[in-house]
Symmetry: C2
Subunit: 340 residues, 2 copies
DNA sequence: GTGAAAGCGCTAACAT
DNA sequence: ATGTTAGCGCTTTCAC
């Protein structure tokens, strides 16, 4: 017994159940006043017709779409896959769907944001790219909360959650110093990203405390990816013949892994005997046997929790918070790429 | 000069520009008849008000949301991240957004699908989990095209695109046989997934042609993940003391890598000298120096292309295809985990 | 508790 | 080319 062709609407259900269309609406709205008997009647009619409420139509009146946009940049970095998973688990559980946008690495998210706005999402989570102040205020005007994930935009009043990247950088410098390293190289990612800058900043600061000037740190551009780091290391230490330092700090694990493989696989060095390597993120791969990378763990799950708290989806009307900046501490995870 | 608080609608723009509301609508609809002058006028008024068309409202009449649902299962498997990226790039380019759903591995997607249906998506791409026939027909009734990505549901009339998994399995068996292997183990993933079954099936068939019966192949459950494969290998060859075979075939690269690390890292064996290892997918990591995994490449990009072709988003009204099943050939990528 | 009626912001005939 | 009008499928007053 196939139902009517085309969409079946609450009208059809109402007709079949012999009630008004608004009753059908109530039957699907938890907490609305409707007698249990009538609700049952309606629900069974609905099932018979394979009726599914059209949430697009309802959001027109409720002004809530139950969709949140997640702007993703670098999916090549497994950390952001972790983040997506953490966010998805939490959001789906509360009945919110994720509208995913991927943007070219380092690209401005403005155009992505423009498209997002058309969809009247209930909130926006930015894990990537820059955000212009014009966009911030457009979202603000519409009452759409925006939260920056692991990035900070100076001068912006957008709120954000991030790992305490500078402190994490210090943690790593400290570990390396304790292990006896005296010369250093750093693999940086997107130079415009605050994440990379902050980690380097904290790292350099701690080194300076031990008398190592920032100018003594070799800065390499790894473009945030394995391949980029691999190439940068080879270029510096093989092609250009620079001296391999005691330690290399990869601003993220993927780059640390790329560096490690270039050093070991191509140049025949040993880790940590010839070079120590430190990473950041603590992605799953960092624990794989060939790497056993000592790294700074980012508390992805907690960061996701805080992100949703800032989004405050349960309080639609609420005035959007000013520039709250939540910093969660990272934690050093000792493995084998730095001797202890 | 801040615009009006609250949402600004096409009415506001019309008022400011001194035109009718429908003119505004036309100004934002490419190819509608409107004089260039008026269009300019409207566009500038819109910009002044920071107006962004509400696509939720428009989809109510157009019956198109420009959203496609992508149901994702195992994001732990980097191959599906690749797939998501490929899909996102293509979809976004044509102005279609992705509604992402993650479901527990192996779980039924029925409830996810139910939620998807509320959003009136223009199409559904299922890269994971099972799909009941009831769901298939519900989508069918609504005229929502569904395409299965790398899975096949026997008896279902849903269309799908997949790598020729059986042929890929044969390719791997062939390579292993040529390299001199005579005893085998296979790391399987979700036993309910056709992908895992098909690859094993093809693998076993080819082996049989060389006189190796299926019963001689040791089947291990690796749950499709690194850690699962790692544990399964240790359990079989260390705890239970089974004899390590000449070759191990990981139904996907992640599992092959897990097996490799268990064998080398824990048991001290060498690859490929002591054990050969083959994978499937050709994820980026397969090429990393410590692995250099010989594997069967899945043509992810082409698969994404075919998926979108089947979805046929440009022909909304079109009758949904019956059970088309597109199989794209995999390709053996030789690296170092199988001697040549 | 329940129905009637008025929108939500837009598109799509239909006029002109 | 442009304005007028009638919905799209739902939620939400407002009566009863």
């Amino acid at each position: 017994m196939k139902p009517i062709i085309g969409r079946v609407t609450s009208m059809d259900v109402a007709a079949l159940a012999g009630v008004s269309q608004s009753a059908v609406s109530r039957a699907f709205t938890p907490g609305s006043s409707l007698s249990a008997a009538k609700r049952e009647l309606i629900l069974s009619a609905a099932k018979k017709l394979n009726y599914v409420p059209n949430s697009i139509a309802s959001s027109l009146t409720t002004r809530r779409t139950n969709m949140v946009a997640v702007i993703l940049g670098n999916l090549d970095n497994p950390f952001y896959v972790l983040v997506l998973k953490a966010l998805a688990a939490r959001l789906q559980q509360r009945g919110t769907q994720i509208l995913t946008f991927t943007v070219e690495n380092g690209a401005s998210s403005d155009d992505a944001l423009m498209r997002v706005l058309r969809y009247q999402v209930d909130g926006i989570i930015l894990t990537s790219a820059q955000l212009s102040t014009r966009m911030t205020s457009m979202c603000h005007d519409r009452g759409i909360p925006v939260v920056l994930f692991n990035r900070y935009i100076p001068g912006s009043d957008a709120s954000g959650v991030r790992c305490d990247n500078a402190a994490g950088g210090r943690l790593m410098a400290d570990a390396l110093l304790k292990a006896g390293a005296r010369s250093f190289a750093v693999l940086k990612g997107d130079p415009r990203g605050s994440t990379s800058q902050d980690r380097f900043q904290g790292f350099a600061e701690r080194l300076l405390e031990d008398g190592i000037p920032r100018s003594a740190i070799l800065e390499l551009e790894g473009q945030s990816i394995y391949r980029g780091a691999h190439a940068a290391v080879l270029r510096a230490f093989q092609d250009e013949g620079r001296k391999v330092p005691d330690a290399i700090f990869g601003i993220n694990d993927t780059m640390a892994m790329g560096a490690m493989d270039a050093l070991r696989g191509v140049m025949g060095l040993r880790v940590p005997d010839d070079v120590m390597i430190g990473g950041f993120d603590n992605i799953d791969e960092a624990d794989y046997w060939p790497y056993r990378l000592t790294t700074v763990r980012q508390p992805a799950e907690e960061m996701a929790d805080e992100t949703l708290k800032l989004l405050d989806l349960d309080n639609p009307g609420a005035e959007i918070q000013p520039g709250i900046d939540i910093k969660l501490p990272g934690e050093l995870v000792w493995r084998d790429s730095i001797p202890r």
